[in-house]
Amino acid sequence: MENLIQSLTERVKQAASNNTPLAIHGGNSKSFYGGAIRGDALDLRAYTGIIDYEPKELVLTVRAGTPLQEIETALEAAGQMLPFEPPYYADTATIGGTVATGLSGPRRPYTGAVRDFVLGTRIINGKGEDLSFGGRVIKNVAGYDVSRLMTGAMGTLGVLLDISFKVLPKPTDEITLRFEMDEATAIQRFNEWAGKPLPISATSWHQGVAMVRLSGAAAGVKAAREKLGGEAVADAQAFWRDLRDHRAPFFEDAEPLRRLSVPSTTSPLSLDLPQWIEWGGALRWVKGAADVKVLREKIASVGGHATLFRHGDKSVGVFHPLAPVLAKIHVNLKAAFDPDNILNPGRMDNFS
């Protein structure tokens, strides 16, 4: 594997000296996401394997090209999980792409996001330097937190090599409850419930139906179920998996799909577009044609940001534009890690 790192490092150095962009990829399961892809492919799939996993440490270290499935299978065997319930979108998903896109699944509001569980990274920066930050321990404040900075940076600051995570025990019992309620009521209930010590691990609202997943020890789940009411849903695992991976019919047409990340208590947005709510109200998927400027202003006014997630016209920008002073820091950071702008240029398209 050290030979492979050597050759990846050489590729980056070469690209920097020729000024030719590189398009970093793993399983291409999320290539639809982010700004347009350009540059020579830099395939990380050969850089694969679990480097270290000791369940009692709650720490996992893996190579970026490792298939997500392989990792989750290994964790499952030890009764543990990646607590951010990573979306796959396609079976080919790798852990590198999971971290680079920074996307988390239904469990996110209740246990944390990808960035919350990343402990350390080894990367190649745009100068072809092999660097390590953070580590394999849960508490570490030596130096700036570069590993979390890498999370969600769309590969624009470095090529991810090794990543260490904190993992958690997987709850032994799970049940999903179904409620019929309107959007405003669902948002209010989700927030009320989240303020109570209940073992909620996912929430969803779509077309007048709210779903709430409870996870934990059997006794705790049973007690919470009695408190909440609702009706138990059979085969709920498939429901949450389809929501996580956008395999539910709502997500399957070619309409522009927008990801609206807003404070969880935000009232119904009344956008007159088909909508699916997750994350206790903090994530609202809408699809269909919309005036991007008006939409962004509206979402910004409630303290959120809007992303064109899939399909639609990317020319107006995929990610929410940044305030000029923030954009300046982004430009500076990009130049610090990748002075020749060769790593996934334009993939994060809200600053330049």
Binding site: E54, P55, K56, E57, G79, G102, R108, G112, R115, D116, L131, F133, G135, R136, V137, I138, K139, N140, V141, A142, G143, Y144, D145, R148, L149, T151, G152, A153, P169, K170, T172, N191, E192, G195, K196, P197, L198, P199, A217, G220, K222, A223, S261, V262, P263, S264, T265, W279, L283, G303, G304, F319, L322, A323, V325, H330, N332, L333, M348, N350
Partner: protein
């Protein structure tokens, strides 16, 4: 004092509280890392973000260094002033804004005390989870600067997991909002970079923190073990059994002996290690965990298990953790606390090496671990009035940190680098990594005026450093728990 700067400050607002006389500056000469001291050119106590921005703009135009200070409880020297610089003291920015119980957030000024946030949220049955031991007096701004942890972070996370949004003022005076009240924000995760940046990237003038529901039920256990290995095994097996305790603290024989001697705690005389375990959550879930944990403790040869049956008893069990150091400090008056983190499986081995080192240096070392997350706090006891003892304790501490790096850990789990661990930064990081840190700083603070010389050593200093040691000494207000 720079006359132009003073004129600028009086233009910002006539009411601006600027301290320039030496006597009134003396209290600000150090934080809780008191062996380093420097009296700043002046100290300013701004009251809002506009004042902060104007002060910074003026300092940056004149190239004057700025150090930020909150409550001054940091134990790595991060808030020690620059002699030729301005000290910004944010204690007056202590306004608690909206506590939004629906959204489970609180908006607070950087000068608000950590515990005051939980107090303000208590009426809604919510609390602010990170609980550094100095939480009674340390401020949120400092918590963000240091990415503070605490005893409950195995389950509830560090500051970085519990802060949603900050207002940040850059050295040039530009202000901005980082993060979001939503669960993520557009662009790079700058919140992650700023949290724990030790005041070197910008000044935090407002913080939106996440509040957590107060757990329905808490159980606290204290268990004594015949060996460190047994106790360490128990820690691994508790977690292996699928339980993530709210707190999981381990104490060594020195602490047990102190408990015995000063508190007549009545532990088995041959006990080598104690585990303090706190479980919290839904009542039924905690009951379930309690059964599993007691089983593991018995399987791992626990000699004795005590379970708190009331809040008063819980307090008593925690006393073994908190009271032992005050007791030990009566044998040797001063102590130096180390803050390394190691992979937990290395615990018995690292502890054995620490014991051996302590013998070589002929010094008393008591060990307390946040065992759940491998964060070690060995305490080296010494007497600063005995020539050479302080220096020996520093040297010993440095070696202990280097062992942490050697086994794959880190030189600081939660106390920060400050000025204290600059030298060990050269051990943990290579040149290109340190250069990356400097480049990140320049991306935020091109003028390089914010907390210069802290956190990240210059490459030149790393190259020069041979046997140089940083200093440590007594803490002011030793009555306040620190770690």
């Amino acid at each position: 004092m720079n006359a132009g700067l003073l004129a600028d400050f009086s233009r910002i607002t006539p009411a601006l509280n600027v301290i320039t006389d030496h006597e009134r500056l003396r209290p600000f000469e150090t934080d809780a890392f008191i062996s380093h001291r420097a009296v700043p050119m002046c100290a300013i106590l701004p009251e809002d973000e506009t004042q902060v921005a104007a002060i910074l703009a003026s300092c940056s135009a004149r190239g004057v260094p700025v150090v930020t200070r909150g409550a001054g409880t940091g134990i790595s020297g991060g808030a020690i002033p620059s002699e030729d610089g301005v000290l910004l003291v944010l204690t007056r920015m202590n306004h608690i804004g909206k506590v939004d119980h629906q959204a489970r957030t609180a908006t607070v000024g950087p000068g608000v005390r950590n515990l005051a946030v939980s107090d303000a949220a208590a009426a809604h049955n919510l609390f602010y989870a990170p609980d550094p031991s100095s939480q009674l007096i340390c401020s949120i701004g400092g918590n963000v600067a240091e990415n503070s942890g605490g005893v409950h972070c195995l389950k509830y996370g560090l500051t970085t997991h519990n802060v949603l949004q900050v207002r940040l003022v850059l050295s040039g005076g530009e202000s901005m909002t980082l993060g979001s009240r939503a669960l993520d924000a557009a662009g790079y995760d700058l919140m992650a970079v700023v949290t724990g940046s030790e005041g070197m990237l910008g000044l935090v003038t407002e913080v939106v923190v996440k509040l957590t529901p107060v757990p329905e039920h808490v159980e606290t256990l204290l268990a004594a073990f015949p060996s460190v290995t047994d106790a360490a095994n128990a820690v691994g097996r508790i977690i292996g059994a699928g339980v993530v305790p709210a707190a999981l603290e381990m104490m060594d024989k020195m602490v047990i002996e102190a408990c015995e001697k000063f508190m007549s705690a009545g532990f088995p005389l041959d006990a080598e290690a104690l585990l303090l375990i706190e479980l919290d959550g839904v009542r039924e879930e905690v009951a379930d965990q309690l059964v599993r944990v007691e089983q593991v403790l018995n399987d791992c040869h626990a000699q004795e298990i005590r379970r708190a049956k009331s809040d008063a008893e819980r307090e008593k069990l925690w006393k073994a953790r908190k009271g032992a150091f005050a007791a030990l400090a009566t044998i040797r008056p001063d102590y130096y606390t180390i803050d390394g983190t190691i992979p937990r499986r290395c615990l018995p081995d690292v502890l054995a090496r620490y014991t051996q080192l302590a013998e070589e240096y002929r010094m008393l070392v008591a060990n307390v671990f946040h065992a759940g997350d491998g964060n070690l706090h060995p305490c080296i006891f010494y007497d600063a009035t005995v020539p050479g003892e302080m220096e020996r304790s520093e040297e010993l501490g440095g070696k202990m940190l280097e062992i942490c790096v050697e086994v794959g850990g880190t030189i600081t789990g939660e106390h920060g680098v400050g000025v204290e661990k600059l030298r060990q930064m050269c051990v943990q990081f290579r040149e290109a990594e340190l250069a990356t840190f400097h480049a990140i700083k320049a991306a935020f603070d091109p003028a390089g005026i914010l907390n210069p010389g802290k956190g990240v050593p210059s490459l030149k200093r790393c190259a020069e450093w041979g046997g140089m040691h940083v200093r440590e000494g007594k803490m002011p207000r030793a009555d306040i728990p620190r770690f």
